[in-house]
Symmetry: D2
Subunit: 294 residues, 4 copies
């Protein structure tokens, strides 16, 4: 079985690594905050490395799951690039940006190391249950080699295109998530001020053509209940939506809704702080309108 190194034991990374260990892959983990790696190694069949380079040394597949592509670059610069061996593959599950992923792939290629960008969708629960959707960019051959590792945590594995394609699809999905959250929020706040309850409005919309994952799941579960559980940070949605806006700009596609959604995420993040959940963005609309979605 392939030897695997896992770098980045965050809220999604940890359950992914757990499933890799449970699937029987010899696993070494590394995390910037060392205690996390040690704790993980204590609980699962895995070894904690002191440095990212040490984790990568001897691994056939190095999995990274960090916040941004720049974080991946930084870890590479901080030693990972030296530790990773020729013939191995970097499987980057970060929700990254295509341009930086392409630069990383070039740097790795010079060392005979492959690269697959493979951001995931499905949240903490999907990671725990091994039902993540994994959108992959890179050579088909490289993807085939890392597929057994991906299968430990992913259910739907889609080859989207060349390096960066996985990042691009993920970013666009997130921009659509931002667009539907914010758009549904605008609609429900305006209706609330018109005297229509959000519950009634959603009952209609969710039986009609304007429905989306946001209107069918997020609003009933999180907004109408005012629960706003913190499952995915607005700061990360902002990052993703900005990547989507950047792709559209780079590809010379006039995309005014995508651009606007990205700016709305950025300002909502500034308004609500780094810890806010992505669905809390609707609170900004509520504040602007002086009315609550009810």
């Amino acid at each position: 079985m392939q030897k695997v190194a896992f770098v980045g034991l965050g809220s999604i990374g940890r359950p992914m690594a757990r499933r890799i260990a449970a699937a029987g892959f010899p696993l070494t983990v590394w995390n910037r905050t060392r205690e996390r790696a040690t704790a993980f190694a204590g609980e699962h069949k895995a070894r904690a490395a002191t440095t990212a380079a040490e984790a990568a040394s001897g691994a056939d597949v190095v999995v990274t799951c960090l916040s941004t592509s720049l974080d991946v670059s930084d870890v590479l610069d901080a030693g990972l690039l030296d530790g990773i061996g020729a013939g191995s593959i970097l499987l980057d599950c970060t929700s990254g940006d295509p341009a930086t992923s392409r630069q990383i792939a070039e740097r790795l290629a010079a060392k005979q190391v492959g690269f697959v960008d493979a951001p995931v969708s499905g949240g903490v629960r999907g990671a725990e249950e091994g039902t993540l959707t994994v959108m992959c960019g890179g050579d088909a051959k490289d993807l085939d080699r890392v597929r057994p590792v991906i299968e430990a945590f992913g259910k739907k594995i889609v080859h989207c295109g060349p390096v960066g394609a996985g990042d691009a699809v993920k970013a666009m999905n997130q921009a659509l998530l931002a667009l539907t959250i914010w758009g549904t929020g605008e609609a429900l706040v305006a209706l609330a001020k018109s005297g229509v309850s959000a519950q009634v409005a959603l009952e209609v919309i969710n039986a009609s053509s304007g429905r989306s994952n946001a209107s069918m799941n997020l609003f009933p579960e999180r907004v109408l209940t005012r629960a706003f559980p913190r499952t995915f940070r607005l700061a990360l949605l902002d990052k993703d939506a900005r990547i989507a806006a950047q792709i559209a700009r780079d590809e010379r596609v006039p995309a005014p809704l995508t651009q606007l959604a990205a700016d709305l995420c950025t300002l909502a993040r500034q308004e609500l702080g780094e810890d806010a959940d992505h669905v809390e963005a609707v609170k900004v609309i509520e504040k602007w309108a002086g009315a609550e979605i009810r």
Copy 2:
């Protein structure tokens, strides 16, 4: 059984009227183009009236199903208001605007005539099968009185609030439809230029958080196939989205995405013409980007 008059035998109105006749309501129909009314009366158990006033005379419930609230006002001015009797109710299934509906309701109230705005969702097929969603605004008592008529063509009947509330919910649903069509179009065009096929992108998005009715149904069936069937005119979506934008503006809800979606519909309508289907709006993005969704 209540005597029903039906005004407006368009593509949705005709099957609605047919179901009312089939349910056994004594029915008189009127249409601006008289041949349509005569033909309808020839095929179904209904009488064709020469004027809207004549149709309304003696009816307990007058159903209108026209393009805009202004059309309803015009028909009222052109005689309907004189023909309609005290104690009857106008059930307006037009996708109207709340402000004009409220004005119409006031004028009718002065003649002891009730008013319920009741725009529908579900398309021609929903009308034919009697499975329309009907969003109603007005007094609960008035709604109860017309409910048997609505049940002839509607399955999900939702009381949204006071007069205009049905229009408002319908308009907001349509704005969300416009937003998701256009937003998904932006994403898929940008991805196409990045080398990601639309089919692959939709496979991922439709298993992820950015999915919507547009991405799950409209794009696979109509855009990827390049079929673009003409089922609902862009001109009408433009009208609806403009009503939504107007409501947000009137209610002082900053709603930049809704406003932008309305403008995009207006310009796409100008670009593509009065006969274009609403989903064809994505062709404008394709033209701007010099690339096709594939």
Copy 3:
């Protein structure tokens, strides 16, 4: 000389009325807060009326200078319509909206009273010095009759078109004001974060093609100094920009920048409060960016 009634002694109305009195027109004034009218009558050659109807009674020209067209409608309803005599003219210097102005003109026409919408530009100082720009909508004959009164406070008097045309031009000017304030703010905040001082940037911009009244006058005098004097309320700019957005929507002109500028004014007003000056809107951009224009 024509007898004049003046309704609305706000910050602009007062100096306008003062100049009318100084020009020798027999003047009666009325204000909702009665003390203002009494004080005015005490200081100038004018009579204070107890009601708007009383002020209008016997006047050849009734000047209104209120916040919104709805305020004008309200004052008409509250008695002014009864007091105003056949053959007289209502000269409405409110920054109004064309649709309401047209309705008011119709109501007055039924009583043989003329109507000219005549919003002004030039601020308190322009009013005091009689150098206001006055943009007029209505019949040329009606305008000719009120021109002597306008000349008491206006320098540049422009006949823009039929009733509502004055309102429309004023609103569009204000939307452009909002657009240039906000757009220049975006540019200077982004440059500040790039390490370019606002003073240097304005030195260049004001010698280049991107310059505007905002960049040449408002930013150097009010933003760079952080003085932000309160000369014209953001709440009024919001109202004006909303009228402009409404006109574009009604005329079916896709105007995404105008629509967005209106929403930005509305949200900035909610953020900064009813007393904020219009130029303070840039503080919202600064907050969103976490940086100050310096």
Copy 4:
């Protein structure tokens, strides 16, 4: 006197080079289309080089005036980097982007070559008359060294900040130009449809707070006359506005108007073609509205 090499004899570059020659600097010119360089050398006191490297060889100051920063990179790659000598300075008058300029500056620094980004404003006439505004980014010492050369064609020379600052200020000026052209266009088209002539509207706006260089100069001279002279290509304004949008995005400044202006330029360029003048962008608004600015 410093020996100067000039690379890029386009419509702005040619008159700039002419003034440098006229000021007595020993000058070598190079242009991709060789005939231009030969023709220039035949008419002015200058030598035509066969390659960019040859032009740069022995020069104290190498001036580049190309379309984009990527063009500058390409010319560097194609030999200029080899030809340019240690101790010399690259004075880049391209309207470039800060990120690429910073990369270029780094590459040059490794060869002991200085870099100053120095985009210009003022058009062909400004270049011919030596009255350009020049916005400079880089070390003050480097700027001092190239100042004599800049003075040959520039009148107002502003040190904006570090490398890239000149590009940034230029881009933001252009974004404001795009914003005011498009915004004024929206206003005038909406007014035209309301029955207000553009000439009357501009008479008022240009005496009021919404005025800008666009409303005061471009619209009266180019739009009302329907002359639309081709002085500055829309394709270049699009490029500049996109740089501005990019800077705002990179600096995390929510700048929805700037982002929208950039997308409007991109789509107008696609609609009108590569040769269209920047002011012709208003024709897109006219098409969308079905009305002309008159």
